[in-house]
Symmetry: C2
Subunit: 276 residues, 2 copies
DNA sequence: TGAATAGTGTCTGTGAGACAATATTAT
DNA sequence: ATAATATTGTCTCACAGACACTATTCA
């Protein structure tokens, strides 16, 4: 039974904040970007890959495994502030695209104790990044294969290469569209395969009805480059005329030109937010 | 500096779970439904309203204000389990549609202390509900008006009627599509206006590309009723032929018929999950 | 000159929006 | 008969998919 209080102030004065059990909370961020790798053929464009930043853990639990950048949320900071703090530690950039993704809270997701993870997705333009990475961080190119039953992501940082497989359970009604469960994972700590797959799925969806792609682009870019970014994230080739129609009112042609190979030079465009 | 451990087991044995500050977590659920109200005209169909279940608080903080059903998350239950526990308390139904919405964690969202809220959205078919409601619960019909700058929701349970207004800030790139902030609210506790508005927005979006609407429907329904549900949630009239085209492969015609007024009877349909 | 990308024109089929027309019921 | 909903037909316009064609560069 609760005592009677005359006012909210009086109630708060007597409130015992230890009445309910508390738990720990962390933030984990799926920082995505698009990497380029040179082609041998001087005529061809750079190869692009959708990529994610992982950190090698140097302490228990999951020592020596890879994980998403993250950390504990202080009692005096919001999860978003914590995410920004971690982003600032991992990159040299301000004003990074940051969006809350999902709160993972399975009871056994951390062997230490009950720790929930309020996860975020961030998008960065790799061109603006320093090459120097914090601690044991490394960019992994992702190759995503998805069918009705599962999603396989191949992760490759040039030295290490491994797959994670996440099973999709379609629950029809009575729950969200899909429920993900880890099916194969030997290299990632915690439930981070779920975070990565959820993040990819979120970005893929939003790519089609928002302008988030431009967070992955430098100020000036060619339409070919922009199309490549869409293609590596969506995981399929797009037809040039259709693509140009779709993004026509999101970009603005500049008088700059890029000459970069044995082929016709391309005009440089920039993002136009005042689109109709 | 961290001590050296020989194995993860050894590390876990010595782990001090009080090393990091902890915080409290609650679950709040926006339980949505569609209410019907009889029309005076015998020919006309029932009027439908998109509605949300609110509870009048009988204790501090925010005593005597309305809030979403919710409660603290135990250390040994997931937020989803907590949400199901609360749903079971408020309704008599099993297998309710339940989806994680967002984690709200502004530092000042609760005057007692730092409490984050992992919020959920639930959809129920009011026809299957008992009329008896738990404690001080009450269904409020919602009238939503949205423009570029803000979202106004009028809440009405037959006895009380009030507005909440939430401001939309468009952050273009560098963050999610919109950021919501409470602009006017005299009747709802905590940051629940944000939860309600976020929930409405989520359901509105998913209505178009998923089958969630059928969670709001009884087993057998007419296409007119189904269309009404879409219309009250989307907040606009739809054209009959277009609507029927869209949902054609999601429903299955039965040989049942509903005769209910001074107009042509309608065939009853049911949900068909094996759609192409 | 050839291989590659850049950029545009155009045809066609699909599908949404709009409107019209017919069917059926209780009062 | 009338007012309401139920149901279907069809026209048009916009647009995505598909393909073809031209432009331009460097080795």
């Amino acid at each position: 039974m609760e005592k009677e209080y005359k006012s909210e102030e009086e109630f708060l004065k007597h409130y015992d904040s230890s009445r309910f059990e508390k738990l720990s909370a962390t933030t984990d961020i799926a920082i995505f970007s698009v990497s380029s790798s040179k082609q041998e053929n001087y005529r061809k464009l750079n190869n692009k890959h959708f990529s994610v930043l992982l950190v090698k853990r140097n302490r228990y639990p999951f020592k020596d495994m890879w994980c998403l950048p993250g950390g504990f949320i202080g009692v005096d900071e919001t999860s978003e502030d914590a995410a920004k703090r971690i982003l600032a530690r991992e990159t040299n950039l301000k004003n990074i695209y940051l969006e809350q993704l999902y709160t993972f809270d399975a009871l056994d997701r951390d062997p230490r104790m009950r720790i929930i993870s309020i996860s975020y997705v961030a998008l960065v333009d790799k061109n603006r990044l320093d090459d120097t990475l914090y601690e044991n961080a490394s960019w992994f190119n992702m190759q995503v294969e998805e069918n009705e039953k599962e999603i396989k992501v191949n992760l490759d940082n040039g030295e290490e290469n491994f797959d994670i497989v996440v099973k999709k359970t379609l629950k029809e009604l009575t729950t969200d569209r899909y429920k993900y469960t880890v099916k194969k994972n030997d290299h990632l700590a915690f439930d981070h395969p779920l975070t990565i797959v959820s993040g990819i799925s979120r970005i893929k969806n939003k790519l089609e009805y928002t302008d988030i792609a431009f967070n992955l682009m430098p100020e000036y870019f060619t339409l070919g480059e922009l199309q490549q970014v869409y293609e590596v994230i969506l995981g399929k080739k797009l037809l040039d005329p259709a693509f140009r129609r779709i993004i026509a009112n999101k970009v603005e042609k500049t008088d700059k030109v890029r000459v970069d190979g044995g082929h016709r030079p391309s005009k440089l465009f920039k993002y136009r937010s005042d689109k109709k």
